[in-house]
């Protein structure tokens, strides 16, 4: 226990406290820095257009990512669940897990290659089938880079979502499905009005995971475009990273981190409240 708390104290308690304190300082990472009160926050919220931009961008990512995790993986889980033979169910499950078994970085790097304007497979494919006019600089245009990144991973079927939905479907009693059949419900109606509500707790878990991951994560953007072209794909996490490690403004970066923390707290609180009110 002693090593646990020693480690926790130094590496887990100190940093967040330090972050919250230094959010009120001009700090270059050494010593305490200069106290500036709410100066960092004032600059961030009222003057810094890049920060506003990054918040807008992350909201767009949020919408896309949540839709991505609750739709296709659910459909895939449904398709797999109703397959006849256990062996094919198992085999398909494996196919959709496989992307999870590769380092996340490889997927991102491969998509960066797919979107490459000159040699990327996407533009090659479009040219090949006679749609040259749709071929475009996917990651190099300020207008579409954001959406290219948001659409990454098409058809959005691989990943943990399939597994979680499958587990949910397996927990549903087969009596319910039999009853639905007796009532003559078609499969689309059954999917929307029966199965989806029955896995709603899985939907919620995945949504929470996705939202928290999207707010915090900036690896993908860092690798794909580094926030560019211009600042068209900048997200708050990446902005914080840049303020700290490129400009040495550790205090300002801490303030960004603190605001993101507030955002996450707010979301967690709303989620809890929503769950309570439903039950």
């Amino acid at each position: 226990m002693v090593p646990t708390f020693l480690f926790l104290g130094v590496f887990c308690y100190y940093p967040p406290i330090s972050a919250l304190v230094h959010a009120f300082f001009r700090w270059d990472g050494v010593g305490l820095g200069v106290f500036v009160g709410l100066g960092n926050f004032r600059e961030l919220i009222f003057e810094d257009e890049l920060f506003a931009r990054s918040c807008l961008n992350v909201c767009i990512f949020l919408v896309f990512n949540v839709l991505k995790t609750i739709t296709v993986p659910f459909l895939v889980a449904e398709l797999i669940y109703w397959l006849w033979s256990k062996r094919t169910r198992y085999a398909y499950r494996l196919v959709f897990i496989l992307p999870m078994v590769t380092p996340g970085i490889v997927t991102v790097l491969l998509w960066r290659f797919i979107y490459n304007t000159h040699v990327g497979p996407l533009n090659r494919l479009l040219t090949m089938v006679g749609l040259e006019r749709l071929a475009m600089p996917w990651l190099a245009s300020t207008k579409i880079a954001l959406y290219s990144i948001a659409a990454m991973g098409f058809p959005w079927a691989g990943g943990i979502g399939v597994l979680i939905y499958l587990a949910g479907l397996h927990n549903i009693s087969s009596d319910i499905f039999d009853a639905a059949r007796v009532d003559g419900a078609g499969w689309i109606r059954r999917l929307i009005w029966l199965d989806f509500p029955l896995v709603i707790s899985q939907v919620r878990v995945l949504t929470v995971m996705t939202v928290l991951g999207t707010i915090q994560g900036f690896e993908t953007v860092l690798i794909m475009t580094n926030g560019g072209p211009g600042f068209s794909t900048l997200v708050p996490g990446l902005y914080m990273y840049r303020q700290a490690f490129q400009y040495g403004r550790f205090g300002y970066a801490s303030a960004i981190g603190a605001l993101m923390f507030l955002g996450i707290l707010f979301f967690t609180y709303m989620n809890l409240k929503l769950v309570r009110s439903r039950e």
Binding site: P3, P15, G29, V76, I80, L98, V119
Partner: protein
């Protein structure tokens, strides 16, 4: 019994086959390109090229193997450290009564609420100015601290990784029926004997699961090694892979071969520990 109509079943197979193929398409492309030289890459992009350029893999291996080894060292030490510390702590929380137990436990679990973004910047400063290491004096000045060393990765991984594990393992240890402990004690076993002969054998599956979970977390981490490490020869696998473009004049075959090799360690691990691996993935996902 399920009513069996053949048409929907065929429909399901077609849909799954298409979705599956699209999901794996980037990886199939990667494998295909990894066997081409640049001329083949530009002229016959989609075809399987002859002659096959196995040399790409030899070339990439010479670069990637170093990163894989670095990642194994960093993740391996971190996971072992995390497992030892968190299982001891979790066992104490679960089995012994001591004043302030619930309060301390709450203090650990509360940390789960702290997001990584909040800690990234001050953790960097802490690691840089850690006293008495890397040329630093006792005020943490003058040197580079733990920056650019493996310990700069391992120690924060160990510290942060144990939180979730303490939570999971405490629940598990408390779930072991009291009667087992009583029976062992009646047979004259000491606490140490009980741990070795009762607790450890029962805990092997959960330890493998949570071990894999924290292994995956450190293995896939990109940002922290990126900011901590300066020397290319210390790079972990994700950082190494991301910088492959800089190491070659762009030869796509060799780069893709590098990515393919980079996928191998996890695949091998997955094949050998499939069931635990999946459960570890689920735990890890829900944690985030």
């Amino acid at each position: 019994m399920r009513a069996r109509k053949i048409a929907p079943e065929i429909g399901r197979h077609v849909a799954l086959a298409i979705l599956g193929l699209l999901t794996l398409a980037p990886f199939l492309l990667m494998l295909n390109i990894s066997l081409k030289n640049n001329a083949q890459f530009y002229t016959e992009f989609w075809k399987l090229s002859r002659p096959i350029q196995w040399g790409n893999f030899t070339y990439a291996w010479n670069i990637i193997s170093r990163y894989i080894l670095n990642s194994i060292i960093v993740s391996g030490i971190s996971v072992i450290g995390v497992l030892v510390m968190s299982s001891l702590s979790a066992y104490s929380f679960a089995r012994f009564r001591f004043p302030g137990r619930e309060f301390l436990f709450f203090m650990v679990i509360g940390l789960l609420m702290i997001p990584g973004v909040l800690t990234l910047v001050p953790l960097y400063s802490l690691v840089q100015h850690f006293p008495l290491v890397g040329g630093n004096n006792r005020f943490g000045m003058g040197g580079h601290g733990l920056l650019n060393s493996r310990w700069g990765l391992i120690i924060p991984y160990m510290a942060g990784g144990q939180i979730m594990l303490i939570f999971i393992l405490r629940n598990f240890f408390e779930g072991i029926p009291q009667s087992l402990f009583d029976a062992a004690r009646v047979d004259g076993a000491s606490e140490w004997h009980i741990i070795r002969l009762v607790v450890v054998p029962l805990s092997v599956p959960i330890l493998i699961t949570v071990g894999l979970m924290s292994f995956l977390g450190t293995w896939n981490d990109y940002v922290w090694p990126l900011v901590v490490l300066r020397s290319p020869e210390l790079r972990t696998l994700p950082v190494g892979l991301a910088f492959l473009h800089g190491e070659y004049e762009i030869k796509y075959g060799q780069i893709m071969a590098g990515y393919a090799i980079g996928c191998l360690p996890l695949l091998v691990l997955f094949v050998f520990t499939m069931r635990y691996f999946l459960r570890g993935l689920m735990f890890g996902a829900i944690k985030g």
